[in-house]
Symmetry: C2
Subunit: 185 residues, 2 copies
């Protein structure tokens, strides 16, 4: 049985706009000795599997400032305080980043982006029967290009390393498992 | 065409043992105005798909200090400076965390854990024909339990949310895609 570690002290030690760093001092349940752990705190995130009537996935390409590379991704972003739910946030991000709208969203899953050093979670939501209804509404630092990708090509894009943002790969796998359940195969 | 953002200033603004935070000031290629971005820097990581001769996956359960929860994962960790390669690091993490050893490792893929705010990459390596050869050698803060999971159960564990560490889900999907390629189906 894995035991939790009781915390004896906790404080924010760094503020970086989209995340902050917290320092926790905790006691080992095995030895009783204190250890410090640094935890990155952020709001929760949502990624959107958005599919058109003709079974194409709505993807976006954008420059990413952590890696310094352009990545092929699904739409998504932070769940703002104004968003009531991950579903509302997903529909908003899809609309802002691509101009598409579709059916009422459905949650496909919730994961920890990195439970070793981050406290937040990331939702994957599905929006079907999407159609382009509006222009895009980028944030100041966003500059995205929309790509429509046939669903049948997703596995090759992941296996070949063309899609390499881990949270997007998680979203695509959850979508694949959902499709398998729904089709009963 | 998505354009990169030229950096005009870059400095480390926080040191947190297993990661540090860097502040980059960059110019928008669209507007020319400067924006600040915070980037989490870390060594690269490796996760290990380790399989026994009877097709069971070697997994570990451990308490995670970011989420404050116990997670079911595959073995893995940081690629230390002493490790020559991701393959050597993977074999070492597998040995230290579970006592298992197997065939020469194989790289299944390389992804960005979070290219929006992190600069590092994460490798997935495969080790086949694993057998328990040693006891375990935990770090001071590690306390792991080994679990052997039949490969056929992986999809249900992901779909049900029993496995919810995103990097592990990526490793399992890359393994599934590799098996599909190898079997030719």
């Amino acid at each position: 049985m894995i035991k939790p570690w009781p915390a004896i002290r906790s404080a924010v030690v760094g503020e970086y706009r989209v995340f902050q760093v917290r320092q926790d001092t905790k006691l080992s349940p095995r030895t009783g000795t204190p250890h410090d752990f640094f935890v990155i705190e952020s709001v929760n995130w949502v990624n959107v599997i958005a599919v058109t009537r003709d079974e194409r996935l709505i993807m976006v390409e954008q420059f990413r400032h952590g890696s310094g590379t352009t990545e092929l991704e699904v739409p998504g972003g932070m769940i703002d305080h104004e968003d009531d739910t991950p579903l509302a946030a997903g529909a908003r991000e899809l609309r802002e980043e691509t101009g598409y709208e579709g059916d009422t969203p459905l949650v496909l899953g919730q994961v920890y982006p990195n439970p070793a050093i981050m406290s937040n979670t990331c939702f994957t939501v599905l929006v079907r029967n999407c159609e382009q209804k509006h222009g895009t509404a980028f944030d100041h630092t966003e500059d995205l290009t929309t790509r429509l990708v046939p669903i049948g090509e997703i596995q090759d894009l992941v296996a070949s390393g063309r899609i390499r943002h881990s949270m997007m790969i998680v979203a695509l796998y959850l979508f694949e498992l959902w499709r398998k359940r729904v089709s009963g195969s």
